[in-house]
């Protein structure tokens, strides 16, 4: 009797150990898989970014892209779609595209254009809300008899890299409540804020993160990493 119980117990113990071993092996496998995958993806991404900074599209591609954009603009402006006016439009677009084909796409970074456009469109409603808030803030300040302002100048360093994202950030700062961008020098933003509170709000860096998210910069790589690691954590939790 006792022997059979002992044998059963030993069997159970072995089975549990076996299961634990299998689970541990699976866990280690996924972990190595994921890390190697992450590293590979990260290397590829860094390579793409480094290459994108140096690589410029050929002049002809830029010319064609500029021409198409200008032609669409012309058609919307003119509103006459007969042959004569369209051919005028083609000639004018060719002239302008020849004069300034390297202006519109001066430093394009690598990245999915459609995704950037999508994210930019999703950024606009948030910006609109901020602008409306900003206007009510200004209206309150202008109409209140005592005018509770305490202006100060703050500076902060940005982690953004390309000029277009700097411009987006600077113009967003100018349009949001209580702050205007005065100067950018060496990634150092100089901001004029109406009081201490808005300056502190800006220092949290929410807007910078949003802009970085749009143009897939700086923290984008880190976010990707965090997402990968979270998968490993989930696996670990399931295993326990």
């Amino acid at each position: 009797m006792e022997v059979t119980i002992f044998i059963h117990a030993a069997d159970d113990a072995f089975r549990i150990l076996e299961k634990a071993k299998a689970r541990a092996v699976g866990l280690l496998d996924t972990a190595t898989n994921l890390t190697s995958e992450t590293r590979w993806m990260r290397e590829k991404k860094i390579q793409a970014i480094l290459k994108g900074a140096q690589e410029t599209k050929s002049g002809f591609q830029n010319f064609v892209a500029t021409f198409v954009m200008l032609m669409v603009f012309w058609a919307l402006l003119s509103g006459k779609f007969d042959t004569f006016h369209l051919s005028l439009g083609v000639i004018c677009s060719l002239i302008v595209a020849y004069l300034s084909h390297d202006l519109l796409f001066a430093n394009v970074r690598v990245g999915d254009g459609r995704l950037i456009a999508q994210r930019f469109l999703r950024y606009i409603p948030w910006l609109m809300r901020e602008i409306v808030t900003a206007n009510f803030h200004v209206a309150y300040l202008a109409l209140s008899p005592k005018m509770p302002i305490d202006p100060q100048i703050i500076t902060f360093r940005t982690k953004l890299e390309s000029d277009i994202s700097w411009v987006t950030l600077a113009n967003s700062i100018t349009l949001t409540p209580g702050t205007i961008t005065i100067d950018i020098e060496d990634r150092e933003f100089m901001i004029h804020a109406l009081d201490r509170k808005v300056a502190d709000d800006l220092d949290t860096g929410e807007m910078e993160d949003r802009v970085a998210h749009i143009f897939m910069e700086a923290d984008h790589i880190y976010i990707q990493d965090v997402l990968d690691v979270s998968r490993i954590f989930a696996e670990l939790k399931r295993g326990m």
Binding site: T66, F73, W74, L77, S78, A97, V167, T181
Partner: protein
């Protein structure tokens, strides 16, 4: 002497705007007989777009795009187009700038010939106005002394 601005915001915004402004100016020139525009207004906008580029990107960038000689040529050609169309009408037996006479050369009916003639005249006026605006702005901003003149003078001084 205008050098390139070190302000990244104005530079980028100007870079994005300038092609569209130029196309808009050409639209105003070409649609002179439908809308309030015309050669003069379009030329002014074209000149203003070049001025914006000169302010933000500096002298060298603009000169690479549109050298002084080409601007002078455009101005003269504009006057030539204007006077040429007028004189052609005169030679064909009408008044100066009597566009309907052009129908003989262009083989179209007088109404269409008139609109084509107006288009040509506006083109000439636009080019001339643009060239003159641009060179006035250019001369004021450089003080009449161009960098190549300075280089030549320095060379002469070092030689003699």
């Amino acid at each position: 002497m205008i050098v390139s601005s070190d302000d990244i915001i104005i530079k980028t915004i100007a870079r994005i705007f300038v092609p569209f402004i130029q196309l808009y100016a050409l639209y105003v020139i070409m649609h002179g007989h439908y809308s309030p525009g015309g050669g003069f207004q379009g030329g002014v906008i074209l000149g203003a777009s070049m001025a914006l580029l000169l302010i933000t990107h500096g002298y060298d960038e603009v000169k690479r795009r549109l050298p002084e000689g080409v601007v002078m040529l455009l101005g003269s050609v504009g006057v030539l187009i204007y006077a040429g169309i007028g004189l052609t009408c005169l030679l064909l037996g009408g008044n100066y700038l009597d566009y309907s006479q052009l129908s003989v050369i262009l083989h179209v009916d007088p109404a269409h010939a008139r609109s084509l003639g107006i288009l040509g005249v506006e083109l000439g006026v636009g080019f001339t106005v643009m060239a003159v605006m641009y060179s006035i702005f250019f001369d004021i901003s450089t003080g009449g002394i161009l960098p190549e003149d300075q280089k030549q003078e320095e060379k002469l001084e070092s030689e003699g």
